[in-house]
Symmetry: C2
Subunit: 248 residues, 2 copies
DNA sequence: AGTCGCTTGTGAAGACACGCACAAAGTTGC
DNA sequence: GCAACTTTGTGCGTGTCTTCACAAGCGACT
């Protein structure tokens, strides 16, 4: 949301192929699904198939893909390996991004061991905490440092992404240290709004909020179900036809 | 829109269905911040203050709040305790929602101990896994059951929300069991698109995707910053006809 | 060759979200 | 009681996202 306030040297604006934010999120999903399909030995996939597998409208999928170029073959579909490569390039995954994780408590510990990060090109290479009982131990072979070592360690290990999994009151301090160390992208699990300079990108994941959104829907459903006859619902599309069977 | 303020308890076609999805997500954020303010002893808060604290545009905040009614006092702001109560009601938090967590591995274990759930009205009251080493142990005082016990335990403990933190290949099976047990809201951490009947609401949280979105931004930033990257892959024809161009 | 069926890519329209700007409604001070 | 000030609630213009619908392109088949 924050446009670089005074980014200054912008120079010649070479066709800002600005991919919509919503599309970027879905491209990442397509990427993973393509990876799975490739592992299963498939060679091509149509937009309808890929859309069904990722739960997206086919037209939306094609438009998403069109933002990164025209790599489909009409009448056939998309060549999986080619599309995979193009997607990785567009998402900036051609070179690894080292991740630092601050806060090795309950959630942080799990994230440190979470295979989904390292397995997808985001190796967690630094861990930090303030708890003396945690500083010094190894998790998944990585030493936990004190947060005061953030600047030094981040520079040394070329950290580009920071993940904050501290308690709420410690998050801003951790964030400041990361920013000071040159980290420009932060994934924040703490339930606070981080104050950062304009050039730093923050994404927030709030688990409690996710549950509350669900609770809202369950309450609303209960309300309409009890108040009236169950009407034909028009909730989010999800034309899940043939949703039966095929379990396990 | 002069809706009679006192006549809320009638139950006749409460038009809550009109709350935009995006607003619901923010309402949950306001709710938490209001809780913090209440703890600090504040009694009223203005839209500007609350907006600044939650990182939202003040007008947007007021519009969000207007969807649940007019509970502000012009010239003063919002009475925190009152607004808190109204928000909880609107989000369906007036009665607790018992949560079942399937998959007590790395992430699931952390979620089971995550204070943000129970602390906000979503007590995790059931845990499930398939691993014989995990079934039978207690986490935070809760016994881990085998997933085959899901129907029985969910009915017994009045589970309304299910959280899936299993590996990808086990997620659909876990989902089916939950749905079969009457769970209508599912929070899914597994990187798969769950197939569910239309009346079930699924929210997906994909941690790897979050990082990839960040990686995209870091890559693009790097691209624009170093404006003269040797673009070897300009091969794509880019028939981007009339793409608006630089409307500065 | 020629035709037919299938799939992509995209213009256009509709739906949704955002944020400005201002009237309405309250409070404070005299 | 009245005027000045503060803050809410919202109508509306603007921009973004989603979805439809269809022409263009590709391969297969006759």
């Amino acid at each position: 949301m924050p446009v670089p306030a005074e980014a200054g040297s912008e120079g010649t604006t070479v066709k800002q192929r600005s991919i919509p934010e919503a599309s970027v999120a879905r491209l990442a999903v397509y990427l993973r699904m393509l990876g799975e399909l490739a592992e299963q030995g498939a060679e091509t996939v149509s937009s309808d198939e890929l859309a069904a597998a990722t739960g997206v409208n086919p037209a939306k999928l094609r438009k998403d893909l069109s933002y990164i170029g025209s790599y489909g073959i009409r009448g056939v579909g998309y060549e999986i390996s080619s599309l995979l490569h193009q997607l990785e390039r567009a998402l900036g995954l051609n070179h690894r991004q080292a991740v630092a994780l601050v806060g090795v408590g309950n959630l942080g510990h799990a994230l440190a061991g979470y295979g989904g990060f390292g397995g997808r090109g985001f190796p967690v290479t630094a861990l930090f905490d303030v708890d003396p009982d945690l500083v010094g131990i190894h998790i998944n072979g990585i030493l936990v440092d004190h947060i005061r070592a953030i600047p030094e360690v981040c520079a040394e290990r070329a950290i580009t992404i920071g993940v904050i999994a501290t308690p709420a009151q410690a998050a801003q301090g951790a964030c400041d240290l990361l920013v000071e160390s040159g980290v420009r992208c932060i994934l924040n699990f703490a339930p606070v709004v981080l104050q950062v300079p304009g050039e730093v990108e923050v994404r927030k994941v709030d688990l409690a909020v996710e549950l509350q959104i669900l609770a809202f829907h369950v309450a609303r459903r209960h309300l309409t179900a009890t108040a009236d006859v169950v009407t034909e619902q028009m909730v989010n599309g999800h034309a899940v036809n043939g949703s039966g069977g095929a379990h396990s």
